[in-house]
C-alpha cells in the first residue's frame, strides 16, 4: 500500500471514529437525559441498535466508495506519472536534438564566417584649420581652409579562416582621393617688394568624368591598407605574408577612428617617418613568461620604402625591421613598452633605352647587343629608424606616447622642396639638393575615462602634445601641437570625438599660431 492510500485510510478511520465518538456522546447525552427519564424499554434499545447498524452500514458504504475512488485516483496518478516520465524523456530527446541543431547551425555560421567575414568602419568629420593670418602659407596644399564636412575613412575588412592555422585579412579603404589634391602651386616671388616673378602654375587633380548618359561623376580611389596571409603553427612563431601594417607604436595598429582616442592624427603618422605598411614577410609571435607578462616580437623583411614598394621593389636591397614589446598587467594596472628598429634603402630611378646606331641609321654591329636599357637613379638613400612607445593604464587613466627618430643618408639626393631655398636665404633660381637629415617626432596623450554609472557609455576627456622636427640641420620647421578634447562612446560600435588644437611653428615664416577643431563620428559595422 502506498503512502497516499494510507493517508486515505487514516482519514476515513478518523471520520468514522469521529462519527462514532459523536454518536457515543449523543448516546451518553441521551443516557444522561434518560437518567431522569423512565428506563428505556427493550424495544427502544433495539430500535437504537438498528439505527446504529444503519449508520455503520452507511459509513461502510461511504468508506468503500472512498476506497474505490482512491484506487481510481491511484491508477490515474500512476498513469499520469508514466505520462510524465514519457514526456520528460521526449523533452530530453528534443533538447538534445535542439542542441545538436543549434550546434550545427552555429558551426555552419562559423564555417561560413570562416570562409568569408565582412566588417568595417566609417567616419564623418567636420573640421577646419584657422591660422592667425588669412593668407598664411600653411593654407598652401591643405584643403581645410574652410570649415568642411569630410568622409575620411570607409574601410572594409575581408577576413577568412581557411583552416585552424591559416587565415587571411584584407583591409581596403575607399576614398574620394585623389579628387582635389593639389598637384603644383605657383610661387609669385617679389624681389625687394617689386616686379613679381611667377614660377610654376597651379594645378589640382580632377577626377570628374561624364558618363555616356550624361551624368557627371567624381571618381574616387581604392587604397589597399593591408592584405596578408597568416600561418600560425605556434603562438610564439607565426608567419605573415603580404602587405601588413608595420608593427610599431600604438596608433599605427589601432588606426581606426572607432579605436583611436583623438580625431587629430599624430604628426609621425601624417609624415610617415616609419612606413605605415610594408610588403614582404613578417615573422612574429608572443610568449608568456608569467601570468602577468607578455613578450611580443616581430621581424620584418620587406621591399622597404620606394615609390612602388606596395607593388614591387626598385632595388635588390630588402628592408629589415625588428619589434619587441613587453606588457605587464596586474589587476587594474597595465604597462606596455615597445620598440621598433628599421633599416632600409630607398631607390627611385627612371629608365631609358640605349640604341647604338651607325651613320646609316642601322643598328651598330660593333655593339652587342645594340639595344640596351639603362637605369638612371634619381634618388637614393639609406634610412635608419628607431621608434619607441609607452602605454600605461590604471583604472580609467591612460597615458600613451610614441617617439620616432629617423636618419637619412643620401647617396643620390633629390632637389630641395620648392620653397626651401628661400628659407635658407638662397637664390630660388639655383637648384639645391637635400642634405642628410635626422628627423624626430613624438606625441603624448593623457586621458581619463570618467567613472560614470552609465550602462555602456564612456566619456573620456583627454589632453595631448605632439611635435615634429623634420631636419636637425635647420630648426625653422619644428612644429608643436597642443590639443584638448573629449571622446564619447555611447556603445562599442560608435565613437564621437571633439578636439580643439593649437599649432605653433617655430619659424615666423608661417605667420604665427594656428588653431583648429575636428569633430568626428565614427561607426564600425
Amino acid at each position: 500500500m502506498n503512502k497516499r492510500n494510507t493517508i486515505w485510510h487514516f482519514s476515513i478511520l478518523a471520520v468514522l471514529s469521529a462519527t462514532l465518538a459523536f454518536t457515543t456522546s449523543a448516546v451518553a447525552q441521551d443516557s444522561d437525559a434518560d437518567a431522569v427519564a423512565p428506563e428505556p424499554t427493550l424495544t427502544a434499545v433495539s430500535q437504537r441498535l438498528a439505527t446504529q447498524d444503519e449508520i455503520i452500514a452507511e459509513l461502510q458504504t461511504k468508506l468503500q466508495q472512498l476506497e474505490d475512488a482512491s484506487a481510481t485516483r491511484d491508477e490515474k496518478t500512476e498513469a499520469l506519472e508514466e505520462q510524465n516520465k514519457s514526456i520528460r524523456a521526449e523533452l530530453d530527446v528534443a533538447k538534445q536534438e535542439r542542441d545538436d541543431l543549434q550546434f550545427q547551425v552555429v558551426s555552419n555560421m562559423e564555417k561560413n564566417a570562416e570562409r568569408l567575414s565582412l566588417s568595417g568602419f566609417m567616419d564623418f568629420n567636420f573640421m577646419q584649420t584657422i591660422p592667425q593670418t588669412d593668407d598664411s602659407v600653411v593654407y598652401a596644399g591643405t584643403p581645410l581652409r574652410h570649415n568642411s564636412f569630410l568622409i575620411n575613412n570607409i574601410n572594409l575588412y575581408f577576413t577568412s579562416n581557411v583552416s585552424g592555422m591559416l587565415s587571411t585579412l584584407v583591409e581596403v579603404r575607399f576614398t574620394f582621393s585623389p579628387l582635389g589634391n593639389n598637384l603644383s602651386l605657383p610661387a609669385v616671388v617679389y624681389t625687394n617688394g617689386q616686379e613679381p616673378a611667377r614660377i610654376g602654375e597651379y594645378s589640382r587633380v580632377s577626377t570628374r568624368v561624364t558618363e555616356p548618359l550624361g551624368r557627371t561623376l567624381d571618381l574616387g580611389g581604392i587604397y589597399i591598407e593591408r592584405a596578408h596571409f597568416d600561418i600560425t603553427p605556434r603562438d610564439w612563431f607565426q608567419i605573415r605574408l603580404g602587405r601588413y601594417l608595420t608593427p610599431y607604436g600604438i596608433w599605427n595598429e589601432d588606426h581606426a577612428p572607432t579605436v583611436t582616442l583623438t580625431g587629430v592624427m599624430p604628426w609621425l603618422q601624417v609624415l610617415q617617418y616609419v612606413p605605415t605598411a610594408q610588403t614582404g614577410v613578417m615573422i612574429y609571435g608572443q610568449i608568456y613568461p608569467s601570468d602577468s607578462i607578455v613578450l611580443q616580437y616581430a621581424v620584418t623583411l620587406s621591399n622597404g620604402r620606394n615609390p612602388t614598394e606596395s607593388f614591387y621593389d626598385m632595388d635588390d636591397n630588402k628592408a629589415i625591421g625588428t619589434r619587441a614589446k613587453l606588457t605587464f598587467s596586474k589587476n587594474d594596472f597595465e604597462l606596455a613598452l615597445g620598440g621598433y628598429g628599421y633599416f632600409g634603402k630607398y631607390t627611385d630611378w627612371t629608365q631609358e633605352i640605349k640604341v647604338y646606331m651607325t651613320q646609316q641609321y642601322g643598328l651598330d654591329p660593333n655593339y652587342d647587343p645594340p639595344l640596351r636599357t639603362r637605369d638612371v637613379i634619381t634618388e637614393e638613400y639609406n634610412e635608419l629608424i628607431g621608434a619607441a612607445d609607452l602605454e600605461v593604464k590604471y583604472k580609467g587613466i591612460r597615458l600613451a606616447g610614441e617617439f620616432v627618430w629617423r636618419k637619412i643618408d643620401y647617396k643620390t639626393p633629390p632637389e630641395s622642396p620648392f620653397l626651401q631655398p628661400l628659407f635658407l636665404s638662397n637664390d630660388p633660381n639655383v637648384t639645391t639638393y637635400e642634405g642628410d637629415t635626422i628627423a624626430r617626432s613624438g606625441y603624448g596623450l593623457l586621458s581619463y575615462t570618467l567613472p560614470l554609472k552609465l550602462e555602456s557609455t564612456t566619456i573620456t576627456p583627454f589632453v595631448g602634445i605632439d611635435m615634429f622636427a623634420p631636419d636637425d640641420a635647420t630648426d625653422y620647421d619644428t612644429w608643436i601641437t597642443a590639443q584638448l578634447g573629449v571622446n564619447v562612446k555611447p556603445g562599442a560600435y560608435v565613437t564621437l570625438k571633439g578636439t580643439g588644437y593649437v599649432l605653433r611653428p617655430k619659424s615666423d615664416f608661417y605667420g604665427g599660431l594656428f588653431s583648429g577643431y575636428a569633430l568626428q563620428m565614427a561607426v564600425s559595422f
Binding site: K95, Q96, D99, D100, Q102, F103, V106, S107, M109, E110, A113, S117, S119, F121, Y157, T159, S163, G164, M165, L169, E171, T232, P233, R234, D235, E253, D254, H255, A256, T258, V259, Q286, Y288, D291, S292, V294, E455, S456, K489, G491, A492, Y493, S524
Partner: protein
Amino acid sequence: MKHNVFFSLPGALLVASLIVLYSQSVVLCESPDQLVVIVNRNFKVDSLSVAEVRRIFKKEITVYKGVAVRPIHAPSGSPLRNQFLSQVMGMSSTAEEKYWEEAKVKKGVSPPIQLSNTVRAVFAAPGAISYCYRKEFNPTVAKIILSL
C-alpha cells in the same frame, strides 16, 4: 614528558578548526554551481591556468601545444557567461563588447561562437574549450581542466 600539542585543548581546537575548514573547502570545491572550464576529451591538455584560459578566450592564444583551440562561449547575457566574465576574464559584458570591437579593427579577429549547451558543443568540436556549472558536467563527453 614532552607536551603533545594534539592532546592539549588548543591542539584539539586547532585540529577541529582544520577539519571544519577542510570540510568547508571540499564543499566549496564541489559546489554544483561552481564554474569549471572544460575541453574536448581529445585535447591533450590536463590543466590550464586562469591567465591561459583568459588568453584563449581573448584569442591571444590561438594554438596550444600544436592544436588550434576553439573557444566557445555561453550565450551573451546568460548567468553562466556573466559568471565566467567576472571570474576568468575580469571584465564586464560591456567591456567585453568593446574589447572585441577593438580586436576586430586591429587584427580582424572575431569573438568566439556562443552556444547554450556548452558541454555538448565541447564534445562535438575538436580543440574546443568552454565552461559550465559542475552540476552540468558530464565526464563522458568532456574533461575539466580548471575548476574555479
